[in-house]
Amino acid sequence: MTQKFSLNVNGKVQTVEADEDMPLLYALRNDLGLNNPHFGCGLAQCGACTVHVDGKPTRSCVTPLKEVGDRTIVTLAGLGTPDRPHPLQTAYVQEEVPQCAYCINGWIMTAAAFLRDHKKPTDAEIRDALTGLKCRCGTHMAILRAVKRAAAMMG
């Protein structure tokens, strides 16, 4: 049974008609035309689909629409723009982090929430905050450099 859902995504409220069990990921990608985030596993094991729901990093591949309600959703596209980049986006470009870049939603969205709540984190704190996220190309060293660079920018 499909029903209508009002989704507040990147500051815009839009209506989606879908199964209540459909994960948010497919509404974002197919109904709202937001190509990021990505499908990686559908199991909340990798992070490629991560968005912020009320500021909290959330795996949209396992978040059914019925649980979203009127909460605020921010995707990578809503985090910052080339004109007004989030420090992590700036740092990612400066450090040339990605190889394939398919995983970056998970790392950037998770790190953005972490750096918002933790000023001047240690290397170990950053690693712990990002544990579980997957990067298959092996860009971990550059990811850590970028998060540290962004942390410095965010004071």
């Binding site: 499908f39 596209a77 290397d123 990067c135 092996g138």
Partner: protein, 761 residues
């Protein structure tokens, strides 16, 4: 990189048309000068045929003076696009920023082999360099006629040709040919793929004159991805597109015998596509396709369990009849030397099946419309997929266009090519464009695998502790059960499920080193695949195909011999390594890591937490890499932390040190993951590694603290591959460091905590 708008379907379509038009539009604004050039036989108003023997197939000067580069290889995120632009801009003496590159679209480039064997710069770049040099020569000839100045008295500065002694006598590339096409024949060697070579009459520049090559120019494809503005293959949509999902059997080798379509009748638009063992579903909405694939009731044929118990895998390899054997060039007489040995050292090593396990499973979109087939795919080899689609669909190759689009990582022959063929079969069956995306379990369990293998090494030592003879044998599954590209239906799951049997090729490899033992024999042997059709354990190329396997063994063994002779591992290698560039990387790594000369293992540590260091080195083609690993071992848990790596890397001329450094670093981390964690698990029925819990990879908490990379530049030596070489010595460097720390030799990958703890106890 073509930049797409992030929104709707129609903009996608119009942009694709714009992408096609871009190539045509270079002819649009006709300048006065280009009209004058119209009579020139070196210039064509319409584009000559897209064949390897035409200069226009590689390079065009646009009316605005920008230079379009058409490249038949692909950049899988290692910065190749920038490197090629640097090589072309260099030869043309054109500003780097004025170059644009179009990659891996069969409509705009010739088959240069795709991403393959780290040949992007070595082969692909070489060809582009030769083409650019020829373009410059032709442009100078045209300018000489125009300016009335002999070509040898002309200079090019930023795309403007001028008299060397009179800068006012000048004409730009744009004025000479902008908006039109080179009509210049190249001396093509008649080959496609990696060996394609088509030079002109020009010689490339002397490397000492290089200004753009060698610069650390940053990648330009990163920002669009970081700002969610770039499309991956999974993001492409076309009007009328439906979603497909494939269904794989619970027991590998089984085929559907009964498919109950009524089991999905409650799902709107869901349809079954079933032909022999090919089984998929399509639906208008992606979520409906996913539900249908989960819900469809299928009865499968009864087949005997195809696989041995995993515990018996290496015994199977030992006992299986060899299908093919190949030997390296023999040195001396190994058998006689062993007879005179004072002492023989022997060891055997084991490496499991490994999965590409890309960040996202395979995905492709195929549209069949008005007799034309268009495919968007993350394959490494778009031109070969074009051939494969033509064969799979029974159409002419020239009616198929394949557009490579970034995928979720790419390290060889992954499931990307399978997805393209599955999408094509579904699209033909339902008469609509079909986007197929595999599920996570299919991406891990059903992708082509890096082969499992065993490796036996023995050394004959004389009474004075010299190595008299060395004997090394790899035996394993071939690295090419399915070929490294999808050009033939037999090499894809679609072809195999539609009834074409797998015809496994034979290939493995030999150690790459320059140890000058007086008697030396290296060999490999392959065995038959476990299942001859649509197997989840079919093998193909994965980053540095069989390199990690072979050099884990060969470089662990060299360390074992050094330890047996109570020699320092660096000093022992330098005693036998003959190639000066090999010696240089070993020395450079040792120096950078402040290597202290002493034999392994250390004997000064007590308690559970111990540390060690190890070195390994390898050649890969003309590239050499030495890696020093420093590891911490927790004896109580078996947990390894590969804390620090020092890498010395020599791939001849460095085109872009920035891209190279990133590639090396990423390869080391990925290889560490493969060494410490990765093993495809299976039971007798099927592969049981189906996600990130059952196929764990390195976590960020386990990433090294430091990777130091020493790049050795040889501008005078042609660049060789760098995409994979640094993967090769990592496993042995870690194993050797674990031995140094603990005195225990681990001869089976992966070095997971369970395996290490069991080895230590």
């Amino acid at each position: 990189m073509t930049r797409y708008e992030a929104t709707a379907t129609f903009s996608r379509r119009s942009l694709l048309q714009a992408g096609g038009a871009l190539v045509v539009s270079i002819g649009a604004p006709v300048t006065f000068e280009s009209v004058l050039a119209a009579d020139n036989p070196l210039v064509a108003a319409t584009k000559p045929a897209l064949t390897p023997d035409q200069l226009s197939s590689y390079i065009a000067v646009n009316a605005d003076g920008t230079i379009s580069i058409f490249f038949g290889k692909m950049d899988m995120g290692q910065g190749l696009a920038i490197a090629i632009r640097q090589m072309v801009a260099e030869e043309l003496d054109a500003p780097f920023k004025d170059t644009k590159i179009f990659i891996g679209d069969t409509a705009t480039s010739v088959n240069q082999g795709g991403a393959s064997g780290s040949t992007g710069v070595q082969e692909g770049g070489h060809q582009m360099r030769m083409a650019a040099a020829e373009a410059r020569r032709v442009l100078l000839e045209m300018a000489a006629n125009k300016l009335g100045v002999p070509a040898d008295q002309l200079t090019v500065t930023d795309g403007v040709v001028h008299a060397t002694n009179d800068a006012t006598k000048k004409i730009s590339y744009a004025q000479l040919i902008g908006g039109q096409f080179f009509n210049v024949h190249l001396d093509w060697n008649g080959k496609y793929g990696n060996p394609l070579y088509a030079p002109g009459k020009a010689q490339p520049k002397d490397p000492k004159d290089h200004r753009i090559v060698g610069q650390p120019i940053p990648r330009e494809d990163i920002a669009p991805k970081v700002f969610a503005q770039a499309d991956f293959v999974a993001d492409i949509k076309v009007p009328g597109m439906v979603h497909g999902r494939m269904i794989r059997p619970p027991v590998a080798g089984a085929a559907p015998v009964k498919v109950d379509e009524s089991s999905i009748k409650d799902i709107p638009t869901a349809k079954v596509v079933w032909d022999k063992a090919f089984l998929g579903v399509v639906a208008d909405k992606e979520w409906d396709a996913i539900k249908a694939a989960r819900q469809l009731k299928v009865e499968w044929s009864q087949v005997a369990p195809p696989f041995p118990n995993q515990a018996a895998l290496y015994d199977h390899i030992r006992q299986a009849p060899r299908r093919k054997r190949e030997e390296g060039k023999p040195v001396g007489n190994v058998d006689d030397a062993f007879k005179s040995a004072a002492r023989v050292i022997e060891a055997e090593y084991e490496w499991p099946f490994q999965s590409h396990a890309r960040m996202g499973p395979g995905c492709a979109l195929v549209e069949i419309k008005d007799g034309k087939v268009t495919c968007w795919t993350g394959t490494q080899k778009a031109h070969f997929v074009q051939t494969g689609l033509a064969a799979t669909l029974g159409v002419q190759q020239d009616s198929v266009r394949v557009i490579w689009t970034s995928g979720p990582g790419s390290y060889g022959r992954s499931d990307a090519d399978d997805a393209a063929m599955d999408a094509a079969v579904l699209a033909k069956a339902v008469g609509k464009p079909v986007r197929v995306q595999y599920t996570r379990d299919q991406g891990t369990a059903w992708d082509p695998k890096a082969p499992a293998s065993i490796h036996r090494a023995s050394a004959a030592i004389d009474a004075s502790g010299n190595v008299l003879a060395y004997d090394f044998l790899s035996k394993g599954f071939s690295r090419i059960d399915v070929d490294t590209n999808g050009s033939q239906p037999k090499d894809t799951l679609a072809g195999q499920t539609l009834g074409i049997d797998l015809k496994s090729g034979d290939g493995f490899g030999l150690p790459g080193d320059s140890y000058g033992f007086a008697n030396k024999r290296t060999a490999w042997e392959t065995i038959a695949p476990l299942l001859d059709r649509a197997s989840p354990l079919r093998t193909s190329h994965m980053r540095d195909p069989v390199g990690p396997q072979i050099h884990f063994a060969s470089e662990s063994f060299i360390d074992e011999v050094a330890a047996a002779l109570n020699a320092d591992p660096v000093e022992f290698r330098l005693r036998y390594v003959r190639d000066p560039r090999d010696i240089a990387v070993i020395k450079a790594a040792a120096e950078k890591a402040s290597w202290q000369s002493r034999p392994s293992p250390r004997k000064d540590q007590i308690g559970d937490k111990v540390s060690g260091r190890g070195i390994a080195y390898a050649q890969r083609g003309a590239t050499r890499v030495a890696v020093i690993a420093e590891v911490d071992v927790d004896r109580s848990t078996g947990k390894i932390w590969a804390r620090k790596f020092t890498v010395a890397h020599d791939c001849g001329q460095i085109i872009n040190p920035n891209g190279l450094r990133h590639s090396v670093e990423n390869n080391v981390v990925q290889a560490t993951s493969r060494t410490l964690w990765e093993e495809v698990k299976f039971d007798q029925n099927n592969v049981t590694s189906v996600d990130w819990l059952t196929y764990p990879i390195l976590d960020v908490t386990e990433a090294p603290a430091q990777i130091d990379v020493v790049l050795i530049d040889h501008p005078e030596i042609a660049p060789s591959g760098a995409g994979e070489a640094s993967t090769r010595p990592v496993a042995a460097a870690i194993a050797n460091a674990i031995f140094d720390a603990t005195g225990v030799r681990i001869r089976r990958v992966p070095f997971s905590p369970v395996n290490v703890k069991s080895a230590l106890s």
